[in-house]
Amino acid sequence: MSNPLEDMEKPDVIFCIGTNMTECHPVAATRLKRAIANGAKLITADPRRIALAELADVYLPLRVGSDVSLLLAMAHVIHREGLTNQGFVEGRTTEAEAFLEHIEKFTPEWAETITEVPAADIERAAILYGKAERGAIYYTLGITEHICGVDNVQSLCNLALMTGNIGREGTGVNPMRGQNNIQGAGDAGALPNNYPGFQSVLDPAYQKKFETVYGRKVDLELGPTKVRALEACGDGIHAMIINGENTVVTDPERHHCEEALKSLDQLVVIDLFLTETAELADVVFPATAWGETDGVQTNTERRVQRLRKAVEPPGEAMPDWWIVSQIARRMGTPGFDFESAKDVFNELCELSPLYAGLDWDRIDRGEYHWPVPHKDHPGTPILHQGTFENGRGIFKLIRYRDPAEVISDEFPVWLTTGRRLPNYHTRTQTGRAAGIDYLAPGERLEIHPEDVVDWGLEDGGWAKMTSSRGCMMVRVEANARSPRGTVFTSFSFNDAPVNVLTGGGYDPVTDTAELKVCPVRVERP
């Protein structure tokens, strides 16, 4: 997030798009609800009538995957109404002229034909956000899990740039990170394009730096993303080590994924449970869990916090870092003499400019937001204050593209996927917590009540759902949250493996799978 969580109570206009925050980030959502109770206006754009839609002053029920056209039209209206923040645009951005010319043709009427949202509502939303004193944007995977995920994010940045809603309290472009330490995994360098601290692997200076500390030459080209690596299994990739991820259930195109992992000469999995993925491994290592190990975790607002050990792990389970280090040592790789999590974290701090001012003891109370460039630095709760990292904010000229697959006579229904409040991911954890099943006993396909009738289904009965890749059975829930012609399910239950259906395309820049859009056919089995 560009701004801290406590800022969520400060905007006068809040724009939530592609985020079901009350279910996915419930405690963050309580802050938004307080802002609204104190008079802030809410714009919600989401295909489903989620709780944030009920709270909204303007609700934009856009068709799945049509976000870019909505955002282009909002930019169009903001400029047409003279709400562009000239001072900010001139002082802090570049490419504005080309951008303002680019958006001229993208009228709300044009966007209505794509998003199915009335042009008048697009106008209302645009004017509301354009007039905001402090306008803040929040988004989640509903924006990124598309073939145009990067375009979506850049379209949101364009809106913030043209209105000057960035770099100030109560504003910003704020992605809510889904997993507890997904931010930290990137911070720590587990990325094919960046060393620790987001130092690009393409930069010769950083390459030299890591060559020196790791004592060997490192490729000067990008590594493949996980998606590409899975595709290359058995043909280029012959060994994998996977830590704490149930790839087989979370990734799209489940059958491909299973075949890929089976084709490896060696698969090593480090996990808490014998997951569907671990079952395919040659060696499985038992890791310590939350509450059993010391460590560090960074939240969605870049706050670096300590995790502490409270109980002993079961049997012989060991911390992930210890397991990886032991394998490395047995392979003769130098630099793995860590004796504690503290040793590992402090080495990361030495190598990452974002963490340069931090160490294990300084983060004891969790008050720092990175970047913390040196020991006397107070941390950076708000990014881009006064200046952008690379000088000026750059407007990007984005065009709308259809999703990788669109509905047809054969697959006439849009399927979109997400999470529900009580369950988390593939339920390796929540599924084993007593009582959670009371709240969400099993997977349901949410279908508009009239569609349930039209398609000859029954509330609580079974439906067969088919995409061009596969087919699954799932129970029907008649639910008016789903618009007509669009159905929703989560990806939490292995007996309802929605990832046999999804996976039509990937964002060309990030390789993020288009999990939010999949044309399907839903019928009585």
């Binding site: 980030h25 405690v27 963050a28 309580t30 609800k33 307080r34 997904i182 720590a188 360098g189 990325l191 620790p196 590594g223 996980k226 998606v227 690596a229 012959h238 060994a239 994998m240 080590i241 996977i242 830590n243 991820e245 979370t250 000469d265 060696q266 996990d271 449970f273 079952e279 040659d282 060696v283 509450g291 460590g295 560090v296 960074t298 939240n299 995790l307 502490r308 050990k309 409270a310 109980v311 079961p314 049997g315 012989e316 992930d320 032991q326 394998i327 047995r330 790789t333 590992v344 990361l348 969790g366 409040l421 009580p422 988390y424 954890q429 929540t430 084993r432 007593a434 959670i436 009371y438």
Partner: protein, 360 residues
Amino acid sequence: MSTNGTGPSIVLDGEKVAYTPGETVYEAATRHGKDIPTLCYDPRLEPFGGCRLCVVEVEGARAPVASCTAQCQAGMEVRTRSARVEVHRRTLMEMLVSENREVEVDELTSLASQEMTELVDRYEARTGRFQGRQSGASRPDDPNPFIMRDYDNCISCYRCVRVCAEQEGDYAISVKGRGFDTQITVEFDGHLKDSACTFCGQCVQTCPTGALGDLKALAYRDVAGETKKTRTVCPYCGVGCAVDLLTRGNTLIGVQPAMDGPANKGALCVKGQFAFDFVQHPDRLAHPLVRGEDGELHQAGWDEALDRAAEGFLRVRERYGRHAVYGVASGRAPHEAAYTMQKFIRGGFGTNHIDNCSRA
């Protein structure tokens, strides 16, 4: 402590002290080290003024004043522990005891659950005179596995109602009736699951009497040992709510929100509050597993498993080159896991064949 400069001040138990405009008498007094008893007060919520335990004497006022709602006014003379207010407080506590079935409340019930009991002891109000008449009827019929609803012990402080409305914005809990007939309830007097309740547990954690209780923690009440708290962060979503883990010996018995948690300020959701027990589930892997000749996974010692993994990677590197190995780090595990994993790949193979699970 006294004022310096010209800021506004009040006289607190004979001493002149500064206050910040807008501050309540309770806030100013607490800041200056006074220990005024409260029951309906939760610093996160709008002051309510219901229990009247926090009363103080204000010079010139006829009756004692509830300090949690009264705003400081320049020159105000306040007495926080006069005999008169102490008698008043004791009487109030005796009345509450006479209406409540239980005075002893298991410490696992919730974070605030000992507040009433502590005040009963402070005012020696244990009269043993339970009148058999109490406000609020218990709801043992609610089958939810998280929240105990034993309104026999309710004192109508409305903290649960207010936390649900003001903190959560859910408005699931409401009040029915008045006086002895006051009943804390939810829509249609039904079960929590059929209301707007999201089982965040905030009502439980703020209830000062144990009328609302954490059933998951209470299920461990027979585990022997002293309860220990360890500060950590929720393992689920990216909000990063701070929590205190409750343990007895080596058993994880519950979670309480950290009121001073930098990201959550005491708030939690159902996952952070109640979904902790996966950690000690019998399905946990306790030993390394290695695939045998028979194609099955078998338990193995660390040496055998680590050697097998290391040899496998060396063999693949020899046969197919260093670009044949790929690492996937976890977005769930701590930094140290991701850092060592990327170092394993970069330092061991000199490639950038490393990613995490953020793309799915």
